[in-house]
Every structure is written in C-alpha cells, then in structure tokens.
C-alpha cells in the first residue's frame, strides 16, 4: 500500500508507534521526525516495506554535549588538540556527562519523490543503537564511520570496526569532549 503524501505516512506510523513526533527543530526543508532509539529500526522497516522509502541516503550523528570553548583550541600549538587550558574558564565548557547523541537518518522514496529525516536520541554514557544493515546495505560503511568517529555501537552490524582513523588513534575524534593524546605524529 502506498501513500500520496508524507503526512499520510506520518499519521499511519503514529498509530503503530506512539512515540514518533514531529521534531521541534526541522532540518531545513525536509520533514523531520524524532523517534526513540528503540523503535528506530522498526520504523525504518515499516517505511521501507509499506511506504516505499527504499533508499538510505545518509547515516550520521551529532554530539549534543554542548559547545566546547574554542579558546582551548586556538591557544594550543596544534590546533586540533582540545586540552585543559588554564586560561579557559571551566564554567564555559559543558559538564562532563552532559548531553546526548543524535543519530540522523535520511531516507528517500522514489515513488513519492520525497526525502525524510529521522532523528533519534542515544544516551551518551553507553551509546548503542540497532544497526540498519539488515534493511539497507548502505548502512554498512556509514555506521562504521559513526562508530569510529563517535563511538556509537550498532548492535547487529556484522563488521563493526574502525574505518577512517588509524588504529593507534584512541577515542572518538568527533566527540566534543575528545582529548587528543600525543602520538608520534605530534611534535
């Protein structure tokens, strides 16, 4: 069964998954729905099988830890290093455990000529989400990238290992609280 507008799809999904709602902050010019991380996989499955959203565009994440004070970057000799600079007032940087991760998923339906964005919150202390690999193979490398750069574990992914950063890099560089440990390439 196909739907004609994205609103129909939303109304139908809301009956099955009551926790789905329109996101407060729209990602500009696309319908943006916020879903719970528990039902993300099921919602994608329903969208794929019943509404023709058969193409996964993008999987990425945002670290909503809060803006890190950029003074910490700029005064260091290596601009990529975020370190505990004494001149940075600690109250300007977010508290260690603050915030959450957002997983951003863009789906496309060719029959409806429509793109759709799903936003899902993941806990920041032990980040885990269900892998979309069984539904879309294109999640394979993109989820590995998110795992590498943010440290979000995707359960059910068959080959979840680092992809972009080298083996000796410890930690997840796109996290806001990432502290670069000096290695042989720093001087």
């Amino acid at each position: 069964m196909t739907h004609h507008t994205v609103e129909d799809v939303f109304a139908k999904l809301q009956k099955i998954f009551p926790d789905i709602k329109e996101s407060e902050e729209k990602i500009k010019n696309y319908p943006t729905w916020s879903v719970s991380s528990g039902s993300l996989f099921k919602i994608c499955e329903t969208l794929k099988k019943e509404s023709g959203f058969e193409y996964l565009d993008m999987v990425t994440a945002v670290d909503r830890h809060g803006k890190v004070n950029s003074a910490g970057y700029l005064t260091e000799p290596n601009p990529c290093v975020y370190s505990q600079n004494p001149s940075v007032v600690p109250s300007q940087s977010p508290a260690p455990g603050a915030g959450f991760f957002e997983i951003i998923i863009i789906l496309t339906s060719f029959s409806m000529n429509q793109k759709l964005i799903l936003v899902s919150r993941v806990d920041r202390t032990n980040p885990e989400a269900e892998s979309l690999y069984p539904l879309f193979k294109s999640a394979d490398w993109q989820e590995r990238e998110v795992f590498d750069l943010f440290g979000i574990k995707f359960t059910g992914h068959p080959n979840l290992k680092k992809i972009l950063t080298p083996d000796f890099i410890k930690g997840h560089p796109l996290r806001k609280d990432y502290v670069h440990k000096k290695d042989k390439f720093d001087y």
Partner: protein, 380 residues
C-alpha cells in the same frame, strides 16, 4: 588500517592466496587498499580498506568560520571542486535563508557543468589507461586543458577554485569569456564522437568491460549508490531533476540511463552525460547574455562575518560522482557546531566487497576504475 593477523578467520588452504592491492598502486586512483582473497584467479573475498587520506575535515569545520570552511570543501573531491563549493554554499544558504540572485544561479549551473565535463574527461582518460589504451588519455587532457583555461580566466585557479561564495559567486564572467566558452561547446560535441570511435565502441574495450562488475537495480538501491554508478543500472535518480537547485528546473536536459549496470554502462553513462552538460552550458550562456538579467552576482545583505541562527540544514547536489550532501548544524556561533559531508564515493565504494567476489583478478582494475573514485572525498 594496517594488515592484521585477525583478518584471516582461518588459515589459508594450499590453493588459496592473499593479494594485497594498494595503497600504493597506480590503478587504485589514490591510496585505496583492497585485501583480496583468491582461489586461483577467482576472488573469494574482497575487503576495501579506506582512511589513508583521512584529514579530519569534518572536525576542522568545527574550528573555522563559515567562510574559512569553504576552502576546505575544495580539498574533498579535488577533481570537481566547483560541485563541493556549490553543495556547501547551498547548505549554508539554506541554514541562513539566503536567496541567490538569478545571474549567480546561472553561473553556478554553468561552471558546475563545465567542471562535470572536466571531471568525466579525467575518468575517460584514466580509465583508458587502466584498461591499456593510452591514446584516449592524451585526447581527454587536450579538451580538459580548454576548461582549465576557462576556469583560470574566471578565478585564477586550475584545480581548487573556491569560486563560489555564500550567497553567490566571487566574480562576474570576464569580458571575452563567453566567446571562449562558446568556442569550447562548439568544439566539444564533435570530440565526443571521436571518443566513441576511439574507445567506447572499440570491440576489444567492449569485450573487456561489458560483462563484468554487473550491479542490479535492487542491489544498487540497497547499497545506496548514486551518480552514474546508480544510473547505469537504470534507476532514474538525479538530484538535478529530483530536487532542482541553481535553476536546473529551467534548463532542458536528459538523464542518460544504462541498462545492465555493467562496467561499460557506467563508462558510457558518463560519456553521454558530457553531451548533456555541453547542452546545459549553451543554455546557461544564452540565458546570461539576455539584457534584462540583473547584474548582481551575490545576494544583497549577506554579512561579512556569518553567524547563522540556531538551526540545521541539509543541502545536496548532483556532483560528478553522485549525490553530494552537506549537513550543517548551527548553534548560533561563528563556526558550525557540526558539518557532515555525505560523500558519494565513500558510499559507492562499499559495494566493491560484494561485486568483486567471483570476479577474476584481471578485472579488478576494470571494475574499480569504473567507479571513478577520488580518495580525497572518500576519506575526507
């Protein structure tokens, strides 16, 4: 990642072999490594290994202003910098709600089509070299040189242009530029016929490429392919038609589609795209030469220092290699809170681990070459 012992689940049998292709290999078009497990000359397992050119560009965005970030985009897909500039500008313009004037829109479409031709010409030349034909390379670079000259007149650079600006373009077209560009579009379609005679329908070349690396429609959608790699399978998805930007809805052109999704189809899709691009360039020049076009090339009221309000935007375009997107998150600061690049080659290359299985080792270079990868964009 370096080779690890643990990548072998079980020890190799006597008739099995491990071949390490790359990262320093002339036919991987950069620092891509493919770990191949073979039985005789048939591949049983292929593991593409990327990340050798990872420069952390997404992280760099977070410590630079929006204007400084524009320069980083050139370094992604360095063979089609105009597209990277454009996708980034579209994302930031969406974020800030900037309307780009008509002249700048046409110039953007014009230069991105010129860049598409230049990029596909490199593909045509290097793909010939991959297969063993050296002459097409010289032909391709002769024509590419004309485009490089045009770009040099326009912005002074030959590879990394930074020609777009948030809200428009950097400079108007120089005086004698239009005449020189028309000279190119008059000259180029004839050359395309020459390429077809030289390489496309050459029986040796067709035998070598027409029956390998076949991707079905379903597979292509499942793996999220985009660009000529997707269209060669027959799926009609082109961002220029799907979600028109830069006045592509006012321009007439067709989307060349392949039939079988083979290596040759991917090659020939690009060749036919070049003819369409030449047509678009003519239409843009025609539109730009009209007297009633306002002379503005940059939107009025764009501040010198950009500070978008809190918000998020996703802008995407059809680049030479596929659907290139920028996802920007602003927290109301001078630099983006997060900037994600949806790189088409990164997503396209993942399917190699599937389609290389069962292929012969001699075909690896032919299949890989047909994806037209640029490692700068893949590793970011």
């Amino acid at each position: 990642m370096p080779i690890e012992e643990k990548t072998f689940e079980k020890p190799l049998e006597l008739d099995q072999m491990f071949v390490n292709m790359g990262p320093q290999h002339p036919s991987t078009h950069g620092v891509l490594r493919i770990a191949l497990h073979m039985e005789g000359e048939v591949i049983t397992k292929a593991e593409p290994d990327v990340g050798y050119l990872h420069r952390g560009i997404e992280k760099l965005f977070e410590n630079r202003t929006y204007t400084q970030g524009l320069v980083l985009t050139d370094r992604l897909d360095y063979l089609s910098s105009m597209h990277n500039n454009l996708a980034y500008c579209i994302a930031v313009e969406k974020l800030m709600g900037i309307e780009v004037p008509a002249r700048a829109q046409y110039i953007r479409a014009l230069v991105s089509e010129l860049n598409r031709i230049a990029s596909h010409l490199i593909f045509f030349g290097t793909y010939g070299v991959d297969i063993g034909a050296f002459t097409p390379f010289l032909h391709a670079f002769r024509e590419r040189e004309m485009i490089m000259d045009l770009f040099e007149m326009l912005c002074g650079a030959r590879l990394l242009y930074t020609y777009m600006r948030i809200g428009g373009v950097a400079k108007n077209l120089p005086e004698d530029w239009t005449a020189k560009c028309r000279e190119f579009t008059g000259f180029f379609p004839k050359r395309l016929k020459e390429y077809d005679a030289l390489l496309s329908f050459n029986p040796i070349f067709m035998d070598r490429t027409a029956n390998i690396g076949i991707i079905s429609k379903e597979e292509a959608l499942d793996w999220g392919l985009s660009g000529p790699v997707l269209r060669a399978t027959g799926v009609n998805y082109d961002v220029r038609k799907f979600e028109p930007y830069s006045f592509y809805d006012k321009l007439e052109f067709e989307i060349p589609l392949g039939q079988t999704g083979s290596t040759w189809d991917r090659y020939y899709c690009r060749m036919r795209e070049m003819a369409q691009s030449a047509g678009i360039i003519d239409q843009c020049l025609e539109a730009l030469s009209k007297q009633d076009m306002p002379p503005d090339i940059i939107a009025k009221g764009v501040p010198k220092i950009l500070k978008p309000l809190k918000g998020q935007a996703y802008g995407h375009i059809e680049a030479s290699r596929g659907d290139l997107g920028f996802y920007a998150v602003s927290e109301g600061e001078f630099s983006p809170y997060r900037m994600h690049i949806k790189a088409p080659t990164f997503i396209n290359t993942a399917i190699l681990q599937k389609i290389l299985v069962g292929a012969k080792i001699a075909d690896v270079v032919a299949i890989l070459g047909s994806f037209d990868i640029v490692l700068g964009e893949m590793d970011r």
